[in-house]
């Protein structure tokens, strides 16, 4: 077997960069023959004609150089086809679908979050959120979910549309509904959703999917919220960052940022 012409260590790359690198390899294979092969930690392109392979290698080098500062991550990888994904999401055991974590403030537990599992492709997240909410409303499924800690405020991940019209909180007074930031792209709809949630007794929060979101959103211009949740900040929070709303840091939080969060009285996810 000839040696591979291109080898990309995708497992060590951030998800979007890995996706683009795979796409470049696929394109080279389509143009110059050969095939893309997944190994334990990398994607390899072999048997490709030199021209397309060289072009792909150049583009991948530019991609990796350009995306040097983007974080890495691991997540559940759903299958490819729509029907297969639908079946996968429906069959995912509730124990795997849901993750319970605790947020501390200072040293004390202050909040708990019941969230869907992390996904390699966020498009399925809405479906998992809906399944999780349905499970909470079902006496049978409730037992399969992680056991909530009594006395701790509950935060639940919601689909973008929030609660179905007319839905009730079922005794969730004081609980926090966590909406995706994408809901803010249509402020009018978001305002409706927030009003419905509050009328049903929920507090409301927005979930920023990563520190890159801070470079894209004017936080001070968001509608009034009870909490902002920032996923995976690592250490990538600007020194002068001053959130206009109470802040919770989730996922990967670096040690220096944990120390700063303690000073600022921000919530920090302890473990998931």
């Amino acid at each position: 077997m000839p040696p591979p012409l291109i080898r990309v260590p995708v497992m060590a790359l951030p998800r979007p960069v890995a996706r683009m690198a795979r796409a470049l390899l696929d394109d080279a294979a389509a143009q110059g023959g050969g095939s893309r092969r997944a190994t334990a930690d990398a994607e390899e392109l072999e048997g490709c004609a030199p021209g397309p392979a060289h072009r792909a290698a150049t583009a991948i080098a530019e991609l990796l150089a350009a995306a040097g500062g983007v974080r890495a991550g691991t997540a559940l990888l759903p299958p490819e086809g729509a029907a297969a994904r639908e079946a996968w999401a429906a069959a995912l055991p509730l124990g795997q679908l849901a993750a319970l974590s605790v947020f501390t403030r200072g040293d004390a537990p202050a909040m708990q979050r019941l969230a869907p599992a992390r996904l390699a492709e966020p498009a399925l997240r809405d479906a998992l959120c809906r399944r999780l909410l349905a499970a909470l409303a079902s006496a049978t499924d409730l037992a399969a979910l992680p056991r909530l800690r009594p006395g701790l405020r509950l935060m639940l991940d919601f689909p973008e549309a929030g609660l179905a019209r007319g839905a009730r909180s079922g005794g969730a007074a004081g609980a926090v509904a966590l909406l995706p930031l994408a809901a803010a792209a249509q402020p009018h709809h978001l305002a409706d959703t927030l009003a419905r949630l509050r009328a049903a007794g929920w507090s409301a929060a927005l979930r920023l999917p990563g520190p890159a979101a801070l470079r894209l959103v004017e936080l001070a211009r968001l509608p009034p919220l009870d909490l902002l949740v920032l996923e995976d900040p690592g250490e990538a929070l600007p020194d002068d960052f001053a959130p206009p709303t109470p802040l919770a840091l989730a996922g990967r939080v670096g040690p220096a940022l944990r120390a700063r969060a303690a000073e600022q009285r921000w919530f920090v996810e302890a473990a998931r």
């Binding site: 951030p14 998800r15 979007p16 960069v17 996706r19 683009m20 796409a23 470049l24 696929d26 394109d27 389509a30 143009q31 072009r55 792909a56 583009a59 530019e62 991609l63 150089a65 350009a66 995306a67 983007v70 974080r71 086809g81 729509a82 029907a83 297969a84 994904r85 639908e86 079946a87 966020p122 498009a123 399925l124 809405d126 479906a127 973008e160 995706p180 930031l181 994408a182 803010a184 792209a185 249509q186 402020p187 009018h188 920023l208 999917p209 990563g210 890159a212 979101a213 470079r215 894209l216 959103v217 004017e218 211009r221 968001l222």
Partner: protein, 388 residues
């Protein structure tokens, strides 16, 4: 009506066109005027009898005589009095009207407008009088009905069909135009190609609604756009020498697909400089890391990244400095937005107005609204037919 018999239809149309020209000139030059709009057609039936008209005439004639204000009588019976500032006599006229008709909501029936700030609202009044406002919404697509989402197997079948389908009849090609001043000829600065998803879904997923499932919509859109990109990557390609650049509104999935990489490799360095890819703000918010990676890649490869279909209310939320182009969606509600909302939107507009393009520019009031803000790039029926 104010000074005698109602104007003839031809004279009223002439007046309307003259008033529209005045509004545009004020927007372009910054000249100040005050306008009192008398929506006499909105008066309740019981106030439209001849004796009421007579009373109105007697009350307003001394105040609005031609030396003090220019009167424009519009088709349909409405009247607009325009005066240079300070124009206190317009306040007197309004006070008289309030006295005569205390039960009539003056803000709605006798609004006062200040030009150039409210030129667009005045243009909207003229368009309504000329019947354009009634015609414009009829051409808009009705909102998509939210039915059942397509099941996975149907979606898989549609994706398989799209992999080899000829989707040229579902492609919408339009222009992005520079239109800087009334009387100027719009200049086509880019071509835009977009797959009409709703029509395509009606054929491939009949009876199902993409609006009911964000995931289904994203997948279907990606499959359709990847098909388009595959076609574009074949010779002769979408760019001709000397032709305008290309704008491609794409989902993030298509913009990171092998087909897109093939296209941008095919374009070469010179072609990539003429390529603009625009993403939906919702996708930008949903996957900021993905967008950051794509933006860095775009910079390294020499093509531009923009934002598509930005809701005006969302613009103040966006830190848009990293995007080469913002395509702002026009809404008639912009013309009557509260002062605070207007100020917030104006403050959020990019300082370099060359980065801003108004979509949905289907009426003169949209163009007038944009001109007031120094925007001269448009997409819509108001500019499109002029040069095609």
């Amino acid at each position: 009506m104010i000074h005698g018999a109602p104007a003839s239809p031809a004279a009223a149309t002439q007046d309307a066109l003259a008033l529209a020209a005045l509004a545009r000139d004020c927007a372009a030059s910054g000249s100040e005027r005050r306008a009192l709009v008398l929506h006499l057609s909105r008066l309740p039936e019981e106030l439209r009898e001849p004796r009421h008209q007579r009373q109105l005439r007697e009350a307003l004639t001394p105040i609005l005589r031609p030396t003090r204000a220019r009167l424009y009588e519009l088709p349909g019976g409405d009247v607009v009095a325009v005066s240079r500032p300070p124009g206190e006599h317009l306040d007197d006229a309004r006070a008289t009207l309030r006295r005569l008709m205390p039960d009539v909501p003056a803000d709605t029936v006798f609004p006062e407008l200040r030009l150039p700030a409210q030129s667009a609202a005045l243009l909207a009044t003229v368009e309504a009088a000329l019947g354009f406002a009634a015609a414009a919404p009829a051409a808009e697509l009705p909102p998509e009905e939210v039915g059942a989402p397509p099941p996975g197997r149907e979606l898989d079948a549609a994706e398989r069909a799209l992999a080899s389908a000829d989707i040229s009849s579902f492609l919408r090609v339009s222009g992005l135009w520079r239109f800087a001043a009334a009387g100027a000829t719009p200049e086509r600065v880019r071509n835009e190609s977009r797959v009409h998803l709703r029509d395509l879904a009606a054929v491939l997923l009949p009876g199902f609604s993409l609006a009911a499932s964000a995931e289904a919509r994203t997948r279907f859109r990606a499959a359709a756009e990847r098909r388009l990109l595959a076609e574009f990557a074949r010779p002769p390609g979408p760019l001709r020498p000397g032709a305008p650049g290309l704008s491609l509104p794409l989902g993030l999935a298509a913009a990171t697909s092998p087909e897109f990489h093939r296209l941008e490799a095919t374009l070469g360095a010179e072609g990539r400089k003429r390529l603009l890819v625009c993403l939906d703000p919702a996708e930008v918010f949903a996957d900021p890391d993905g967008v950051a990676a794509l933006a860095a890649f775009a910079r390294s490869r020499g093509w531009s990244l923009g934002l598509d279909d930005v809701d005006p209310e969302a613009l103040p939320l966006l830190r848009h400095g990293g995007f080469a182009m913002l395509r702002l969606r026009f809404r008639p509600a912009l013309l009557s937005a509260p002062v605070a909302a207007r100020a917030a939107l104006d403050a959020a507009l990019p300082a370099d107005r060359g980065r801003l393009l108004l979509t949905g520019a289907d009426c003169a009031s949209a163009v007038g609204w944009a001109w007031q803000r120094g925007v001269s790039l448009f997409q819509g029926r108001m500019v499109e037919p002029r040069s095609v």
